[in-house]
């Protein structure tokens, strides 16, 4: 695979302000969805809101911080970097999901690196605050369980869909995943860099490029805007599953 060492990593982060969960207008999507407003009156440590620029690192694998992050907007990749510098994207995380949950479970450092793909808007929640709220409101456990189960399903889907088949099938599957990922808003989705796509499905960058180019030529993949695309899902499904 590709063995590029980290180029200068952009870590452009902007502090938006203290989060006021009791007044959050998307709270039902977020990590504290089940809690009553009163839960936030005496937090051990405050929750802060940040905006990360595209490409900036949210946290790095192995570092011993004590925060989990709930994604409000944008798309995050979880990356595993091997000793030899090879890195593999293990999961894509979007709005409403949380990352760094391994810290809630005795882990003393993050298991992956988390990097913003586009501009990401998130809440940074201290672990002690989560633990405090868990003890006061056991229903929060339900939410953690839900989050973990969802991510486990994602990981399994990753193994099944993106880890087998020919290069063309995998790219088709990947496009379907991206399409579904953005489905809430509209049919359009952001096409990732070829390098990211290659790191997701474990094939060479050039091969990804060839397949994408072929799909474009066959009008299975249309460009609608700058790097917004639409795809013919029926056709992609056929390709992904043939033989």
């Amino acid at each position: 695979m590709n063995k590029e060492l980290d180029k200068t990593v952009c870590t452009n982060v902007e502090w938006v302000g203290r989060a006021h969960c009791d007044r959050c207008h998307i709270r039902r999507l977020m990590f504290f969805s089940e809690l009553p407003d009163s839960a936030f009156e005496h937090l051990l440590q405050p929750v802060d809101q940040f905006i990360h620029a595209a490409g900036s690192t949210i946290f790095e694998a192995g570092t011993r911080k004590k925060f989990i992050y709930s994604i409000r907007r944008g798309m995050v990749k979880l990356v595993h970097t091997a000793e030899d510098g090879t890195n593999r994207i293990v999961r894509l995380i979007g709005p409403g999901s949380a990352i760094g949950l391994e810290l809630l479970d005795g882990a003393d450092s993050y298991h992956h690196s988390a990097i913003a793909i586009n501009q990401v808007d998130l809440c940074k929640i201290p672990v002690p605050t989560v633990e405090q709220l868990e003890s006061e409101y056991p229903e929060l456990y339900q939410h953690v369980v839900q989050q973990l189960q969802d991510q486990l399903d994602l990981a399994d889907q990753w193994i099944v869909a993106l880890g087998a088949g020919t290069a063309k099938q995998r790219v088709a599957q990947l496009l379907l995943v991206l399409d579904k990922f953005f489905a809430e808003n509209n049919d359009e989705f952001i096409l990732l860099s070829r390098e990211d796509m290659a790191a997701m499905i474990g094939i060479a960058v050039e091969t990804v490029s060839r397949m994408i180019a072929e799909f474009k030529r066959q009008k299975i993949l249309y460009k609608t805007d700058n790097n917004l695309y639409t795809c013919n899902t029926a056709e992609l499904l056929k390709i992904a599953q043939q033989d």
Copy 2:
């Protein structure tokens, strides 16, 4: 991949008896490890213990049962079967781990099929019983979270180690995984069928066979007993990571 339809599935199951969790001598390994003995006095529905023969199905994906299973002994494979009959092994589960946890989270059917690899000894726990105990003893949530997090880590490891690299590297990684899986007892481990190994790492059966044969010839993999093997982990690591 291989598209064999289900041959006659062996479902040889033997009921061992009612489980008495309060007297279980391996309870600290099991699903109810944190609970006091008194917790089991008034269970909504009883916990039963079973022995599954090698190859027998514990549950099938999509079926609407209401039980989770805690593995006492043996090895279980979680299998995803695609529409075209292709099946892929998504995870290996061993003693102390639980399967079917998706039911605790609103899922109305199992996400995978679970099949015993060798003889498996397990406890069959009704979901209502778990929910009852969860409400009485919130610390049980911690254990569920732990289980899910462990399985998520396994899935990620699967993606990283078994989903990339050459066929030789993947087989080497797989042997290392098997070795670690059995590490508690001794160095020896059971070598799976070529078909299972192929379904884990997404390559052809014949290729797996070739690689295994090559490792045997190079004395990196020794047969010690019937189908018990030992491996030279240092050498395998070198192979798995080279370039």
